[in-house]
C-alpha cells in the first residue's frame, strides 16, 4: 500500500482514474453491460455526484472504484494504486486506508455505540486506544453528534445514523468517500442537513466525495455532476449546478 501523501492528494490531481472500464454480467445467454468502456477521472477535492436512471451502472461503477467488485476489462486506479493488481486481502487494505463508504441503509454495526462504530475503523488501522478514542470523538463532534457517543444505532434517528456513517467514512482520512444514495432513506430535513454536512466537510478538509444519487438537492449542491446512461458517461458538468438540479 502506497503511503498517503499530501502531494498525491493535491487539489486537482486525479484521485481516481478509470480507463476503458467495463463490467459485463451474463445471465444465461443474455449479456448485460452494466459499465461499458468508461473513461473517468475524479480529481482530489471533487464534490461530485453520479446520477442516472436505475440500471445505468452508477452502483457498479462505485463498487469497482471502491474495490468491492472487479471489472471485466479496463482499469481503475485509486490514489496511485492499480486495483487490478491487488488480491482480495490487499483490496480490503485499500478500502480501509483509502476509501470511505456511506451506504443508503447506514449499515452501522448494531452492537456498537456511535463512538465505537467510528473507533472500529481506527482499530482495524491499528491506531492506539487513546488516540482512537480522541479521533473518534472529534469525528463525531464534526458531524454534530457530540454527546451521543454512547448511543447504539437503534437509539439514533436515520439522519443521525447517516451522520455517524459519514464520520466513520471520514475518520481514516480516506482519499475518497463513496456514498451510494445517502439521502434515500432520510426525510427532507435530515437529507438537507446531511448534504450540508458533506459539503462542509469537503470544503473544510478537501476530502473527495463521489455521491451516487437521484436526489436533486444533492445534485444542486455538487460542484461536479456526472450522468450515466446504459453504463456510459453521458454528461460530465462542472460548476454551479443549480440549474441542472432544476
Amino acid at each position: 500500500m502506497q503511503p498517503d501523501t499530501s502531494e498525491s492528494r493535491a487539489p486537482g490531481r486525479a484521485i481516481v482514474a478509470c480507463r476503458g472500464l467495463s463490467k459485463i454480467y451474463t445471465d444465461g445467454a443474455v449479456e448485460v453491460r452494466a459499465v461499458d468502456g468508461l473513461d473517468l477521472d475524479i480529481a482530489a477535492g471533487d464534490f461530485a455526484t453520479l446520477s442516472g436512471p436505475s440500471g445505468s451502472g452508477k452502483t457498479t461503477l462505485q463498487n469497482m472504484i471502491g474495490g468491492l467488485d472487479r471489472p471485466t476489462s479496463g482499469s481503475v486506479t485509486v490514489d496511485g494504486e492499480d486495483l487490478s493488481s491487488l488480491n482480495t486481502a490487499h483490496l480490503a487494505e485499500l478500502r480501509l486506508h483509502k476509501i470511505g463508504f456511506v451506504f443508503q441503509a447506514y449499515n452501522l454495526i448494531p452492537v456498537l455505540s456511535a463512538l465505537e462504530n467510528i473507533e472500529f475503523v481506527l482499530q482495524l488501522l491499528g491506531v492506539g486506544a487513546k488516540e482512537r478514542r480522541a479521533r473518534a470523538a472529534s469525528a463525531l463532534a464534526d458531524v454534530g453528534l457530540a454527546g451521543m457517543e454512547g448511543r447504539r444505532p437503534s437509539h439514533l434517528s436515520g439522519g443521525q445514523q447517516q451522520r455517524v456513517a459519514v464520520a466513520r467514512a471520514l475518520v481514516a482520512r480516506p482519499a475518497i468517500v463513496l456514498a451510494d444514495e445517502p439521502t434515500a432513506n432520510l426525510d427532507s430535513k435530515s437529507a438537507d442537513d446531511l448534504i450540508s454536512l458533506m459539503a462542509e466537510l469537503n470544503a473544510r478538509s478537501g476530502t473527495t466525495f463521489l455521491i451516487g444519487t437521484h436526489d436533486a438537492r444533492v445534485i444542486a449542491r455538487a460542484r461536479r455532476h456526472i450522468e450515466m446512461v446504459d453504463g456510459k458517461v453521458t454528461a460530465d458538468t462542472t460548476g454551479d449546478l443549480a440549474d441542472v438540479a432544476q
Partner: protein, 406 residues
C-alpha cells in the same frame, strides 16, 4: 473490541443464545455426572473386588501369573514385604503361599486353592476376614486352623470344628498331606472365592508343602488403587532387584478389567453421540446466524475488515457460547456428582447383580478432574472445530454479493 463485539453479538438474539447455552449446559452436565458416576462405580468395583482378596498389586516370581506353580518362590518374603511397605503409596504387604489341592471330608472331596497367610498381615491387605459369618478368621498362634468359603464348606458338608483333609504336591515333589480344623466360614458373594478358596496359617503351609521360609506372592494395598498404581514404577524397581515382577490390578482381575473396558466402550458411543448431537444443534444455530448476518459481514468487509477477521469474530462468538455453556454444565453436573457422591444412589433392584462385582446396594459418583473436564472439553473442542465450517463460508464471501443478501 473484537471480543466485545463477539460478546454483544451473542446477546442480539437472547432467546436463541439462551437455548443454545441450555443445550450445551445440559449436555455437559450429563457428561460430567455420568462420567463421575461411571468412574465412581468402576473405582468401587475395582476396590471392593481387589480388597476382598487379591490386593491392589502383587509381587511375584516371573511367569507366576500364567503358571502359578508352587515351585516359583520368593526367598525371605517377610523382609521383602517390610521393604514394600516402605514404598510411598503402599500401606500394607502380606506374603502368601498358594497351592491347588484336594480337600476331603470323609468320602467327599473337592479341588480348591489353599492359601497360606500370615493372619495379622493378611487382615491389613484383605477384607476376607470381615466376611466370615460362622466361626472366626485365622489368628496368630493358630496351627492347624483353616477357613473356607461357604459354598466349599457346604459341598464338603463341613461344620465348624470338623477336620478337613488336604492332599497336594509339595515343593520338593513329595505328597503334601495335612489334617486341618475348620474354624471359620466366609461368604464374600464372589462365587469363585466362596466355592474354591481356603486359607490356613502360612507357617503350617510352609511345613506341609516343604517350602522352608519361602512364599509365592506378596499382596499389596495402599490408601487407594490409584496410589498403588502410582507406586508401580517404584515397586517394579524393588521387584526387579529381587528377580521378581509386579502384577497390577488388571493382571490380578483380568475379567473385571475387560468388563470395565467393554462397559466404558459402550458408554463412549453414547457420549460421542451426545456430543455430536450438541455440536450439530450449535452448528445449525450458527449457520442460521451467518445467513441472517451475511449483509452485515459484507458491510464489515466493505469498510476494510478482512474476511478472516470477520470469521474469527464469529468463531469467538461460538467459543464464548461453548465456554459459558460448558462451565455452567460443569457446575451443574459437578454439583450433582458431589451431592450424590455424599448421599449415594440406591440400586436396590440390582443389589444381587451388584454383589457379584463386590458392589454395595448404594453407589457413589466420584467427581474427579477427569470426570469434570474431559466431557466438557470434548464439547468445546468439537464445537471449535465445527465452527471452522461457517468460518470457511465467510472467507468465501464477496462484499458486494454479501451486501445484496436479503
Amino acid at each position: 473490541m473484537l471480543f466485545e463485539m463477539a460478546w454483544r453479538n451473542l446477546w442480539r438474539q437472547p432467546m436463541r443464545t439462551a437455548l443454545s447455552l441450555l443445550t450445551m449446559a445440559l449436555a455437559a452436565a450429563l457428561l460430567v455426572f455420568m462420567l463421575s458416576f461411571q468412574l465412581g462405580v468402576y473405582d468401587t468395583m475395582k476396590s471392593n473386588a481387589l480388597r476382598i482378596f487379591d490386593g491392589f498389586a502383587r509381587i511375584q516370581p516371573p511367569g507366576y501369573a500364567d503358571d502359578p506353580d508352587i515351585r516359583k518362590t520368593i526367598a525371605d518374603p517377610e523382609a521383602l514385604a517390610a521393604k514394600a511397605e516402605q514404598v510411598k503409596g503402599v500401606t500394607a504387604a502380606a506374603p502368601r503361599a498358594t497351592s491347588y489341592v484336594i480337600l476331603a471330608n470323609g468320602e467327599r472331596s473337592y479341588g480348591a486353592a489353599i492359601v497360606g497367610v500370615s493372619p495379622t498381615r493378611e487382615r491389613r491387605v484383605s477384607t476376607l476376614a470381615t466376611t466370615v459369618h460362622e466361626g472366626r478368621y485365622l489368628k496368630p498362634g493358630d496351627s492347624d486352623a483353616v477357613v473356607l468359603g461357604d459354598a466349599l464348606a457346604r459341598n464338603l458338608k463341613l461344620k465348624l470344628g470338623d477336620k478337613v483333609t488336604l492332599l497336594g504336591s509339595a515343593l520338593d515333589g513329595t505328597i503334601a498331606a495335612d489334617s486341618l480344623t475348620l474354624v471359620g466360614i466366609f461368604h464374600t458373594g464372589i462365587g469363585d472365592l466362596d466355592r474354591q478358596v481356603a486359607e490356613m496359617p502360612l507357617g503350617r503351609f510352609q511345613q506341609s508343602f516343604a517350602m522352608g521360609d519361602t512364599a509365592n506372592t506378596i499382596a499389596l494395598v495402599g490408601p487407594s488403587l490409584s496410589a498403588v498404581n502410582a507406586a508401580l514404577p517404584r515397586l517394579d524397581r524393588l521387584a526387579t532387584a529381587n528377580n521378581l515382577v509386579v502384577e497390577d490390578w488388571g493382571g490380578l482381575q483380568p475379567g473385571l478389567k475387560q468388563a470395565i473396558t467393554l462397559d466404558f466402550s459402550t458408554s463412549m458411543l453414547w457420549y460421542v453421540s451426545l456430543v455430536v448431537v450438541v455440536v450439530f444443534i450449535i452448528l445449525n444455530t450458527l449457520l442460521m446466524s451467518v445467513l441472517e448476518r451475511t449483509r452485515e459481514f459484507g458491510m464489515l468487509m466493505a469498510i476494510g475488515m478482512r474476511a478472516p477477521l470477520v470469521g474469527r469474530m464469529l468463531w469467538l462468538e461460538l467459543i464464548l457460547l461453548a465456554l459459558i455453556g460448558t462451565v455452567a454444565g460443569v457446575i451443574l453436573g459437578g454439583g450433582l456428582a458431589l451431592w450424590y457422591g455424599h448421599a449415594g444412589i440406591a440400586v436396590g433392584a440390582f443389589e444381587g447383580l451388584m454383589a457379584q462385582w463386590g458392589l454395595p446396594g448404594r453407589l457413589y459418583p466420584t467427581l474427579s478432574a477427569t470426570s469434570a473436564l474431559v466431557g466438557p472439553a470434548v464439547i468445546v473442542v468439537s464445537v471449535a472445530v465445527a465452527g471452522l465450517i461457517p468460518m470457511r463460508r465467510i472467507r468465501r464471501l464477496e462484499p458486494v454479493k454479501a451486501m445484496r443478501a436479503a
